[in-house]
């Protein structure tokens, strides 16, 4: 039981993943986000080899649709996997195995795929896509956050009788570098999407300070001084 969105920002070419699930520490199993290459996320009963393998195939020049065929041919348990793949141009392939559990499916739209299993219904994916598309001018990490919040608000995980909370969540965004641009996580929490919003908003206050500190260290103020400034005059 998980709901996720993979997406591309058409303005900047940044690529990103947002994910929320009942399982713990999901962000520690999201390595398939590669700058200038693409994204692959395997979930439900995940084959951990899929994502790094798919990224190598995308980097070699395989199209997402062909990568999916190769993943299928390479995995006797493909029917248990749920997989979404996007390349850097926004080409998409998605697979929801017939043996994934609960309500399970994927929804494609321009530059994004929402996909999930163990969900209360398709309205979760519809909500995620609407959340993602609502404000195309905003940075990708916020669009992914909106998508997760919309998925949560549409009912998230569960079935006709039971709701299952999000216990971990993550957002990862890559730009042009071979290290992530945004990588925020909540690994163990009773309402992880709510907490992820708090972590993201807090991190965004520091993002430029952290980046500039490394790139231009002789100009950097100590962090405790920066934090005191934040407390005195919080950013709007």
């Amino acid at each position: 039981m998980t709901y996720s969105i993979i997406a591309r920002c058409a303005r900047t070419g940044r690529l990103g993943l947002g994910i929320a699930t009942y399982s713990l520490v999901v962000g520690g199993r999201c390595e398939g986000v590669a700058a200038n290459i693409g994204i692959c996320k395997t979930q439900a009963f995940p084959n951990r080899h899929n994502d790094p393998f798919a990224i190598k195939l995308l980097a070699d020049g395989y199209l997402p649709a062909r990568v999916m065929e190769i993943l299928a041919a390479n995995d006797p348990q493909h029917e248990y996997r749920q997989i979404a793949i996007m390349d850097r141009e926004g080409r998409i392939a998605a697979h929801t195995g017939p043996r994934t559990r609960g309500w399970s499916g994927h929804l494609l739209n321009t530059d994004c795929v929402a996909f999930g299993n163990g969900l209360v219904g398709e309205q979760v994916l519809t909500g995620m896509i609407e959340g993602f598309l609502a404000d195309p001018a905003t940075p990708l990490e916020y669009r992914l956050m909106h998508a997760l919040e919309a998925g949560r608000d549409a009912g998230g995980q569960g079935d006709a009788t039971t709701h299952r909370t999000e216990r971990s969540a993550a957002i990862k965004v890559v730009d042009r570098n071979d290290y992530p641009d945004i990588d925020v996580r909540v690994d163990v929490h009773p309402i992880a999407v709510d907490r992820l919003r708090e972590v993201l908003d807090e991190y965004k206050k520091y993002e430029i300070f952290y980046r500039d500190r490394g790139r231009n260290p002789s100009q950097a103020i100590p962090q405790d001084v920066f934090v005191a400034g934040l407390k005195a005059a919080p950013p709007k």
Binding site: R29, Y80, R99, Y179, V184, V188, G214, P222
Partner: protein
């Protein structure tokens, strides 16, 4: 203001990192581990290009000493960096740039580096290394956690206005696969090392189930049923 243990397990060859810092979301910067290749971390004033670059150099066959030299020559602000590099044989080198702030330094043991800056003193890195080497037969993630807790208990970070708490922390372990065997984080917390221990203990209950579920899905019970097999005190509300 950060303290870190970087290590290779001599029994398994696993590469591992434990880190705790006043900065938030530190896990974002911890992309310097690769199975059977090495482990590296750049901290203090971070050059984010260093970790992936150093890993590629290790993969090409550069020794850790030579990797450090290349990082130096490739970075006009090298003196602001604190860097550890370990290769797959456990050869370890570290560098604490003269322009890193506060008490800043490192200790090296076979296959392990303790390093930090803006610390309460040299005894913090000594404690981290002692915490790591105390139980050589334990699994690597337990040794990394013990090292961080020893660093915390030795006083951790000390800023201009006194002790600085750990606001984020992470433990990462790579085994043979090209994905992390363990990658657990606390991105924002008032006592991140304490919270990391709690999260780790909880995750440890599920780890085997998650691994098995992916490898053998036909036999997997649903997670909400698995949860009911946990000890009563460990079941989520």
């Amino acid at each position: 203001m950060t303290y870190t243990i970087l290590a290779r397990c001599p029994r398994t060859g696993q590469m591992g990192l434990g880190i705790a810092t006043y900065s938030i979301g530190v896990g974002l910067y911890c992309n310097g581990l690769r199975s059977r290749k090495g482990a590296t971390m750049t901290q203090a004033f971070v050059n984010q290009g260093n970790n992936p670059f150093a890993l590629r150099l290790l993969t090409m066959g550069f020794t850790p000493t030579h990797v450090l030299r290349e990082l130096q020559r490739n970075d006009p602000d090298h003196e602001y960096r604190q860097i550890g590099v370990i290769d797959r044989e456990g050869n370890a080198v570290a560098y604490s740039g003269p322009k890193t702030r506060g008490w800043s330094g490192h200790r090296i043991a076979p296959g392990a580096i303790a390093m930090g800056n803006v610390l309460a003193g040299e005894h913090v890195v000594d404690a981290i290394l002692s915490g790591f080497t105390a139980s050589p037969d334990a699994i690597l993630e337990h040794r990394l956690l013990a090292a961080l807790e020893a660093g915390r208990d030795a006083g951790g970070q000390l800023g201009n206005d006194g002790h600085l708490t750990e606001r984020s922390a992470a433990i990462i372990v790579y085994d043979d696969a090209d994905y992390a065997e363990l990658d657990i984080r606390v991105d924002l917390h008032d006592h991140a090392v304490d919270e990391l221990r709690r999260n780790y203990e909880e995750y440890a209950l599920y780890r085997g189930y998650y691994t098995e579920r992916g490898k053998n899905p036909a036999a997997a019970i649903p997670q909400h049923e698995f949860v009911r097999t946990l000890p009563v005190g460990e079941q989520p509300a």
